[in-house]
């Protein structure tokens, strides 16, 4: 171990090997993914986000939401995410196809947001929440984002977009709170967070025993051909899941 070039070679090999294993190989395996059909339906998944939601993703990133919110539903057999209603199935690679950048998140100070658009379908809810989280969740440690809103004197007619705030959170008389475009985009993005469609590699759990191979429940194998003739019980729900947001 007294020859620098030899140590260098070893050190190079160690990192190159890990890079090939953790980056290159999965890229070859799943890098070519495209949209695919949801299980038992004819909808392509995932749907592209609307323009507003796409811009909202950038707001989400710039505000650093990821430091408190994850976007990855954990395997069902771990027992908690499903029980909390955060997702019927675990997240798989397919869910993130159009995310740019992918915001998996490593901490859960707040809830997982993978399917928050299914839990709250109304943009107004998110706007109020962003203006002051205490309104809906007293005791929350999520910061309010007043800078995403305009607090302004009411003109001749009140703005139709102004938030309808309860007395406790409302600005003084003669003023109204109107979301700026950043808040609207962010709300559109949050509503678009829906990744529950049943997939071949991540089907919905069956209420009763079915002929589906149990191994399929927790595999996150790369997408194969998606034309699996599974029972079509979930087709309509799956289609609704992917309904584009306004």
């Amino acid at each position: 171990m007294n020859r620098a070039p030899l140590i260098f070679l070893g050190v190079f090999a160690a990192l190159a090997f890990s890079w090939a294993g953790l980056v290159l190989a999965p890229q070859i395996q799943i890098g070519g993914q495209g949209q695919k059909l949801v299980q038992g339906g004819d909808t392509l998944y995932p749907a592209r986000r609307s323009g507003m939601a796409q811009q909202g993703a950038a707001v989400y990133v710039s505000l650093g939401c990821v430091y408190c919110h994850s976007q990855q539903v954990q395997p069902r057999e771990w027992g908690y995410d499903n029980a909390r209603g955060w997702g019927k199935r675990r997240s798989v690679a397919q869910d993130y196809l159009f995310d740019e950048p992918v915001q998996l998140g490593a901490r859960r100070v707040g809830p997982d947001l993978s399917n928050v658009g299914l839990r709250f379908t109304n943009e107004t809810f998110f706007l109020e929440f962003l203006y002051n989280p205490q309104m809906h969740h007293p005791g929350s440690t999520m910061p309010p984002f007043p800078f995403l809103f305009d607090r302004r004197r009411i003109g001749k007619t009140p703005s139709p977009d102004a938030l309808k705030l309860p007395q406790q959170f409302a600005p003084e008389a003669g003023y109204e709170v109107v979301p700026k475009s950043g808040a609207r985009k962010l709300a559109a993005y949050l509503v678009s967070l829906q990744s529950e469609a049943p997939l071949f590699e991540a089907p919905w759990p069956k209420a009763k025993r079915t002929n589906a191979p149990p191994a399929a429940l927790d595999t996150n194998a790369p997408p194969g051909t998606a034309t699996n003739a599974a029972p079509a019980t979930n087709a309509s729900a799956a289609a609704a899941t992917n309904a584009p947001t306004k």
């Binding site: 620098a4 710039s62 869910d95 005791g139």
Partner: protein, 536 residues
């Protein structure tokens, strides 16, 4: 003194043995500007970053505080503070000490100090640019790789300049034998640029599609933590334990085991079980994370054997106490890393502040204490000026230890409480937040104590620089301007450093004038001559 058959000559102990006294002066002159500048800015970043980090912690529980300022929102302040600590403090300080160690171990002056100085300048433009970008919302969105596209290449350029100086020093070394620290430095200096460029290229410049970004990010973030910051700190620990005690490293073979398992397993870690990636990738990464137990045990055994019977040395030398604290922090954080890699544990700790505890231990414990010890050892030698007051370094040490202890305990227990809550679906998120609150407040208090303690180091360091500069001006620059030799003698007498020479550049201080150091045992005579050059 234990000498195992595998033991090499104690390179660190012998590197500046008295018979080589002529060299360190050239060496010190080449090292002085780059090392002191890098250390100065790193300590300023440490204080600024710690303050911002504590403030982010407080905001986590007082969400209404200063909520009107977009740039101070938690999601921007926290990453900005982390980046200041990672790239402003830890990386910069690690590089400074790496330059010093490479020159000393290679018995050669620093090659191209001007490269390192220009690198220092660019580095300290790039870091504020990146942090400013994060505060303005230009983040890339990937933890530890948040620096926007206009800052990351500048940081890389700065790094390349400093690393060039370091690697050329290594290549031009006079001492052919490579010591353990040099293995780790050579590796870290190569690993960081790879991890940094691949991370930024595949996340920000040409992002891979979909979840592959998460794979790249897991790999790269683990690279910065393990292959860069931990490797730098291990080099420092491996250098100073034998250097200050005078005892040779217990076993070179064990160090080789530690090094290679660290390199191989360390590079594969980073992906948590449950990540939505192909199962085999996650499994391999989890296995690598768990097998980090091997380098942990190898390193810890090597150090504890080297230190056994050296109790007096440890008690007498404050720098050595810092190094031992860094070693302890490494053991603790690596152990936490092994535990939380395991599938069964990460199920519960995966999304909790146990991970934050690991980051805090890494930055303030492993890197922080290692750098602190190195600074107390090398700065008085480089600056030819002692640190002020016996008490200040002690306050730094014990305050740092207490603060880090509180912060770690708070974050680990808070994380376990949080994990238990998260995995119990009957508990609401608000209830979980309430149950973790006291623990997080404890850790915030600990971090505040730690910040104050580190402030003692920063102020003391600036004091040394001011004293050195003033002496330099009084003794050299002014007399030279006035052409008066008499005055030089006079001011020298006044400052009580009659033999210090001009700016400490001409003559070294007598050893006794330096910071009190335990009497060094003479290098074992049997080992020196017997050592073979170019041993394989």
């Amino acid at each position: 003194m234990q000498v195992s058959p595998l033991t090499d000559a104690p390179e660190p102990g012998a590197a500046d043995a008295p018979d080589r006294a002529a060299l360190p002066e050239d060496q010190d002159q080449s090292l002085r500007a780059p090392v002191l500048l890098l250390l100065l800015s790193s300590l300023l970043w440490l204080v600024a970053g710690s303050l911002a980090y504590v403030m982010a912690f407080v905001k986590l529980h007082a969400p209404g505080m200063m909520a009107g300022a977009a740039w101070l929102t938690y999601g921007r302040l926290h990453p900005a503070a982390t980046n200041a600590l990672l790239y402003g403090f830890a990386s910069q300080a690690g590089l400074a000490i790496a330059l010093w160690m490479l020159a000393r171990l290679g018995r050669a002056p620093l090659a191209f100090p001007s490269f390192a100085i220009v690198g220092w300048f660019v580095w300290n433009l790039a870091v504020p640019l990146g942090i400013g970008g994060i505060l303005l919302g230009d983040t890339t969105g990937f933890e530890w790789f948040e620096m926007p596209r206009y800052a990351s290449p500048a940081l890389f350029a700065a790094y390349a300049l400093i690393a060039a100086s370091a690697l050329i020093t290594l290549a031009k070394r006079e001492e052919p034998a490579l010591y353990v620290s040099q293995w780790f430095l050579l590796a870290a200096l190569f690993w960081f640029p790879w991890v940094w460029t691949v991370g930024h290229l595949l996340l920000a410049f040409h992002p891979l599609r979909g979840v592959m970004q998460a794979a790249v990010h897991g790999w790269a973030m683990n690279g910065v933590a393990t292959l860069w910051l931990t490797a730098l700190s291990l080099a420092i620990i491996y250098y100073f334990i034998p250097k200050i005690t005078g005892a040779p490293l217990y076993s070179r073979g064990l160090a080789q085991l530690g090094f290679w398992t660290f390199a191989i397993c360390g590079a594969w870690g980073g992906l948590r079980a449950g990540t939505p990636l192909p199962a085999w990738v996650v499994s391999v990464s989890v296995a690598a994370g768990v097998s980090m137990i091997v380098p942990l045990v190898a390193n810890a055994a090597n150090w504890s054997h080297t230190l056994s019977g050296q109790r007096n040395q440890v008690m007498q030398s404050l720098p050595l106490q810092f190094i031992v604290a860094a070693a302890g922090s490494y053991v603790l954080t690596a152990f936490l890393g092994v535990l939380t890699s395991a599938r069964g544990v990460s199920k519960f700790t995966g999304f909790t502040c146990v991970a934050t505890a690991q980051h805090v231990l890494l930055i303030f414990g492993v890197v922080g204490f290692a750098v602190g010890g190195a600074i107390y050892y090398l700065v008085p030698r480089l600056a030819q000026t002692e640190f002020c007051c016996d008490k200040a370094p002690k306050i730094h040490f014990y305050g740092g230890l207490a603060g880090l202890g509180l912060a770690t305990v708070g974050l680990v227990i808070g994380g376990l409480v949080q994990g238990a809550g998260l995995s119990d679906a009957s508990k609401t998120m608000i209830e979980i937040i309430k149950s973790t609150k006291p623990w997080l407040q404890l850790s915030a208090a600990g971090l505040l104590v730690l910040t104050v303690a580190n402030g003692f180091l920063a102020v003391n360091f600036i004091g040394v620089l001011v004293k050195t500069t003033r002496r330099c001006v009084l003794e050299c620059v002014l007399p030279e301007l006035r052409g008066s030799r008499r005055q030089e003698a006079q001011t020298s007498m006044e400052s009580g450093l009659a033999h210090a020479g001009c700016c400490g550049l001409e003559k070294g201080l007598p050893e006794t004038a330096l910071q009190p150091e335990p009497p060094r045992q003479p290098p074992p005579p049997a080992l020196k001559p017997a050592k073979k050059r170019r041993r394989k």
